[in-house]
Symmetry: C2
Subunit: 169 residues, 2 copies
Amino acid sequence: MADLKAGVNQLFLREEELRTGMELLFYAYREFTAEPDEILAEIGFGRAHHRVIYFVGRYPKITVSELLAILKITKQSLSRVLGELVRQGFIDQQTGARDRRQRLLELTGKGVELERQLSETQRQRIARAYRMAGAEAVEGFRKVMMGMLDDEDRAKFTPPAPARLATKR
Amino acid sequence: MADLKAGVNQLFLREEELRTGMELLFYAYREFTAEPDEILAEIGFGRAHHRVIYFVGRYPKITVSELLAILKITKQSLSRVLGELVRQGFIDQQTGARDRRQRLLELTGKGVELERQLSETQRQRIARAYRMAGAEAVEGFRKVMMGMLDDEDRAKFTPPAPARLATKR
DNA sequence: GCTTTTAGGTCAGCCATGTTGACGCGGTTG
DNA sequence: CAACCGCGTCAACATGGCTGACCTAAAAGC
């Protein structure tokens, strides 16, 4: 009887624990994107533009197909926002040297500035959370988050050389 | 000189650390929603329907305004998906006893079944991540995630009585 | 008891961002 | 030189946000 009760209770706790995880992800993601979204709205951009700017800043000289592989959207969807960013001078395209079909993407000065501005609040939010939680908690956070990813995405974090560096350019 | 170098290196690590946090959130959220999205697409629903079903399941007899406060969308947006869910028999509305203007929302059997099906993959994903990372890591994960929230959302987790229980019904 | 506020719904239209499908151009490669 | 590939583009559609206007019925305030 006591055993049964303990079992039930454990199941309940587990259920609660899992729900907590789901909700933390939902709320955190929403608040994480809220502030940049406001800035973006002012200049007529959306979250999609932020993602492109972020990853182009993260991986300078990234090709369009590499970017597509990261974002996992169609090239038509990417094209819309990328085109605007290029036309408005936030991103530069240069023809690949080795393969002249490729467009290597890079932030302009203006692009770097916007990226910095957009990500600043997010960086602060994370930095605050890390500081409040402590180094050990951060390690746990990373472990759990990694565990949520599929192998493909997990690979982007583990190796000394991220996937793209293994790709011929 | 050594000090300077250490400082620079620490800054770099910090920058990398923060970027890692941002990206973990991006990838994890995307994969977290991918599987339910597929199921939803088959029955002509979208992610918005899932959110409504989830929170109605989580808080049976929740009112429309409480739901709006959680989701932080407009009532017109909610109305669209909630209406479909009610008409198709996934959610029941009953008039509030104390306040007859209120519609208390509840999942039907059909709704419970769909909720279970949708959340199952997410539960598994989280359970897997928790299991792989260990109890201590989970505690760290929770701490960091909580630190990312604004006070308002954080309050939903901390108290023995969630905000809605303090609300008169 | 009358007025105001509140809970909820509805119509209409706009926007951002995702999708599919088809097609074109130029560069690379077997 | 043919086939494939990287990239771009046109067109059409769906989802899910948004604003603004307007409605009913119930509750609350005076």
